[in-house]
C-alpha cells in the first residue's frame, strides 16, 4: 500500500516539476517576445529610418504611404559578436507598399546596457520560417524560400542557412540613420492604426449602447450617425468618449454613467478644434463604413 502511495506521490511530484518547467519556459518566452517586440529596428528605407515596435508590430503612415515592421515570433539569443554578452537575432518582415513583404534576420547586439539593432540580412520575400536557433555563436535559420513555379504565399524550397554575425556577406543591411530629402517629418507620421483602434472600441459593444441612449434623446443631432473615435474609462462603470457625428468636422466630448448595464448620458460638449483633414478623409472611406452607428 505504502509503495503504491509512494509511486503516486512520485508521479505527482514529477508532474508538478514538469508543469513548473513548462510554465517558466512559457513565461520566459513571453518576456522575451515582449522585450523584442518593443525594440527599435532600422527599416533600411531613408523615409522612416527606424521604428519602435509596439506588441511586435508598428506601422508609420505618411500621406498615402507607409512603412510597416512586424515580428512574427522567430528569434534566438546568443553571443553573436563574441564579446561575452547575450545578443539576439530576430526575424522581421517589412512592407513599404504593395504586398512585397521582405523577411530579414536582424541582429540586436548587447552594448552592455541594452540591445541595439546593428545589422540585418535578407532571407527572402514572403519566406516561411520554421525555426531560428543559436548554434555555437551563429544563427541557424530553417526556412522555406521560393523556387520556380511557387506562388508568392507558398515558398516550397526548404533551406537551412547559418549566419555568422562577424561574416555576414555583401547583402548585409547596415542601418543608415540619415533621412532622405523628402523624408516625412515627425508631424507627417501617424503611428496609430486608427482603424484597428476604432474596431477595438466597437468590439466592446459600448458604441451600440451609446446608440440606444442617443435614440432616447430629443435633440436632432442625436439622430445622426456617429463614430466613437476615442474612449476611456473615468471611474467604476463610467466612461468618456470622443464622438464624431456624420457630416461635421467637429467632434464632441461625451461623458456617460453606466447604471444596470445601461448608458446614461451625463455631459456633452463640442471640442474646440476640428479633427485633422486626413483623419476625416479616412473616416469617410469604405474602410470605416462599418463603424458609423
Amino acid at each position: 500500500m505504502l509503495t503504491r502511495v509512494g509511486k503516486i506521490g512520485t508521479c505527482i511530484v514529477f508532474f508538478l516539476i514538469c508543469c513548473a518547467v513548462l510554465l517558466s519556459r512559457a513565461q520566459s518566452k513571453a518576456s522575451a517576445e515582449k522585450l523584442l517586440g518593443s525594440m527599435t529596428y532600422f527599416t533600411g528605407t531613408p523615409d522612416v529610418p527606424k521604428l519602435t515596435l509596439v506588441d511586435g508590430s508598428r506601422t508609420a503612415y505618411y500621406g498615402r504611404l507607409y512603412v510597416s515592421l512586424n515580428m512574427e515570433g522567430h528569434y534566438c539569443f546568443g553571443d553573436f559578436n563574441r564579446d561575452g554578452l547575450k545578443d539576439a537575432a530576430v526575424v522581421i518582415s517589412e512592407n513599404e507598399g504593395g504586398n512585397l513583404d521582405d523577411y530579414s534576420l536582424t541582429f540586436l547586439i548587447n552594448d552592455g546596457t541594452k540591445l541595439v539593432h546593428k545589422k540585418s540580412v535578407h532571407l527572402d520575400f514572403w519566406a516561411i520560417i520554421n525555426s531560428v536557433k543559436e548554434r555555437a555563436g551563429k544563427v541557424a535559420v530553417d526556412l522555406f524560400v521560393h523556387q520556380e513555379g511557387d506562388c508568392n504565399a507558398g515558398p516550397t524550397k526548404r533551406v537551412k542557412k547559418v549566419f555568422d554575425y562577424g561574416n555576414l556577406g555583401p547583402d548585409t543591411l547596415v542601418p543608415v540613420v540619415q533621412k532622405s530629402e523628402w523624408a516625412p517629418s515627425e508631424a507627417d507620421l501617424r503611428y496609430v492604426d486608427r482603424n484597428q483602434e476604432i474596431q477595438d472600441i466597437c468590439d466592446t459593444g459600448i458604441p451600440a449602447r451609446i446608440r440606444k441612449t442617443f435614440d432616447h434623446q430629443d435633440d436632432a443631432i442625436f439622430a445622426q450617425k456617429f463614430m466613437v473615435v476615442e474612449m476611456a474609462p473615468i471611474d467604476s462603470g463610467s466612461f468618456q468618449a470622443v464622438i464624431l457625428f456624420e457630416g461635421t468636422p467637429h467632434s464632441f466630448w461625451v461623458g456617460f454613467l453606466t447604471i444596470k448595464n445601461e448608458c446614461v448620458l451625463r455631459d456633452i460638449e463640442e471640442l474646440p478644434n476640428p479633427l485633422g483633414e486626413m483623419f476625416l478623409d479616412e473616416t469617410r472611406s469604405l474602410a470605416y463604413e462599418r463603424f458609423w452607428m
Partner: protein, 236 residues
Amino acid sequence: MPKKQSNVDVWLGRETPRVRKALESASRHFGSDSRLTVHTLEAVYGRESSFGTMMRKPGSSAAAGHFHLEPKTARRYGLNVSKKNDERFDINKSSSAAARYLRDLDKAFSKKTTIWGPSKTVPVNSASERKKFVVGAYNAGERHIADAQRLAQKAGRDPRLWSDVQKFLESASPKKDRAKEKAREIQQYVEKVLLYEIEFAQKSPAGKGKTAKKGEYRCTEGGRWVTIDDRPVYIC
C-alpha cells in the same frame, strides 16, 4: 511520357464555380477604359496564392489570404482583419478588394498622381502598357514604380514604356542593399502575371460570352521568346 501541366492548367482545375463567380463578379469593378479583365484577376490569384491553396495564417500582420493582401490594403477596401474574422480569407470579399485595388492603381497610372513629395506617376495612355505598371504596383507599391518612372524620364528614356522603366526599378528601390532582388522580383512578377493572363484568356471559362477587346492580347510593340514553366512563350 505525359505532357507536364502548366500552372494555369493546375489552377483552372481548382477553379470551382463559386470561385469563378466571385472572380467574375469582382472583375465588374474594372472600368471599360482599362485592360484589366477577369483573366488579370485569375492571373494575380494564381501567382499570389496558387488559387487559394497557400494563404498563410488568418490575422497575420503580413500579406495573407486569397489575394495575399496586406492588412492595411484590405482594411482600406472595407475588409475586417482580425484573428477571429479575417475577410482576406473570404473569396468574395478578397477578390472584390483586389479588383478595386487594381482599378485604383490603374487610375493612379492613367493620370498624374502625387504619391509623396517628388514621387508622381507619369500617365501611361496605352491601357495595355499601363497594365504592366498596375501589376508591378500591386506587387511593390505605387511609389516604387512611380520613382522608377521618374528616374527613367531623367535618364532620357520613355517613362510610359515598361521595358524602359523596369531598368530603373533597382535604382528606385529605397533599400539599396537588396534593391537588385526586389527589382528582379517585380520584373518577374509582371512578366509572369501577364503571361498567365494570356493563358487564362485562352483556356478559362470565366467571363465566357465576353469577347476580348480589339488588340487586348496582342503585342503593341516587339515581343520576345522566353521559357516559363519549361515551355517557350512569346511575350510582349
